[in-house]
Symmetry: C2
Subunit: 156 residues, 2 copies
Amino acid sequence: MPADGLEQDAFGKPGQRLARGVSRMLTSLGHAPLLEFVPTGGLRVDVISISPKGELWVVECKSSRADFMADRKWQGYLEFCDRFFWAVDTDFPDELLPEGCGLIRADSWGAELQQMAPESRLAAARRTRLLRDIARVATARLLAVTDPMGVSASVS
Amino acid sequence: MPADGLEQDAFGKPGQRLARGVSRMLTSLGHAPLLEFVPTGGLRVDVISISPKGELWVVECKSSRADFMADRKWQGYLEFCDRFFWAVDTDFPDELLPEGCGLIRADSWGAELQQMAPESRLAAARRTRLLRDIARVATARLLAVTDPMGVSASVS
C-alpha cells in the first residue's frame, strides 16, 4: 500500500477512486455527476455535479496531505459552482482543509456528506454556459462509447 | 428487406440507424447530439443537439411514409428547440414533409444537411432548463456505462 493510504489498482489512482465513491453518493442524492471537467482553460475539477434543480456542485478529491498541498488552484474552482466540497478518506488530516467548504468522507465504493457547503450562487449567464459545456462534454463522451466509429472531432 | 426501405439488423431499427448517421454529421459540425431525449412527459425526440454556442436543434428521423404518418406529435417538438429538422433516407417521399422545417438526408453511416431550418429562438429560461436536463440525462447514461455497479436511482 503506498504512502497516500489508498491502494492503487485496477480502479485507478487514489483520487479517482474517491471520485467514484463521490459519484455514487451524488447519484443517490438525485444529482448528475461528471468526472474530470474543465470549466475553463487550465482548470480541471475532479467532479462537477448538477442537482435536480440545476444547482452546480464541485467536489475536489484529496487522497493525502501531499495531494492536497500540491493543489494551488482550488480557489479558482469556487467561481464555477454554487457549492464547493472537499472529499477525503478516513485517514485524511482534516485540519488541513480551509474553512467555509463542504466536506465529504469517501472511499472507492461510496461516500457520506458530512458538512454541507455554503451557497455562493452562480450568475445566470455563467450557469447556462456551464450547463451547456457539461452537456456537450457528457454527450461527446457518451457517443465515444456508444458509437466509437463515429468519433471525428471530439468536444472533449 | 422490410417495406420501410432500410434493413433491420444489429444496428437497430431503421429510425435508429438514421439517428446514428445524423449524430455523426452533427458531431462533425461541432454539435453535441443526444439520442432519444424526453423534453417533457409524453414526448420523446429522436435527436437533440447542442451547437457550440448553445443553440438547440431537434432532428426527427423518418425511415418511411408509414413512420412519418404515424407521428402525430411532431408539432409538439417545435417548442423545445431553436431549429427543427427532418432526417430521411434517399427513398423517402419528400413531398410528405411539412414546409418550414430543415431537411437532412441520412443513412446509417452519415448524413448531409440539405436545408437549414428557420430559427425560432427559445426563451432563456427554457433553454437553461433543457441544457440542465440534457446534461443530467447524458451524465447519468455515461455513469451507467462507466460505473454500472453504481447505478441506483437513475435520472433517465
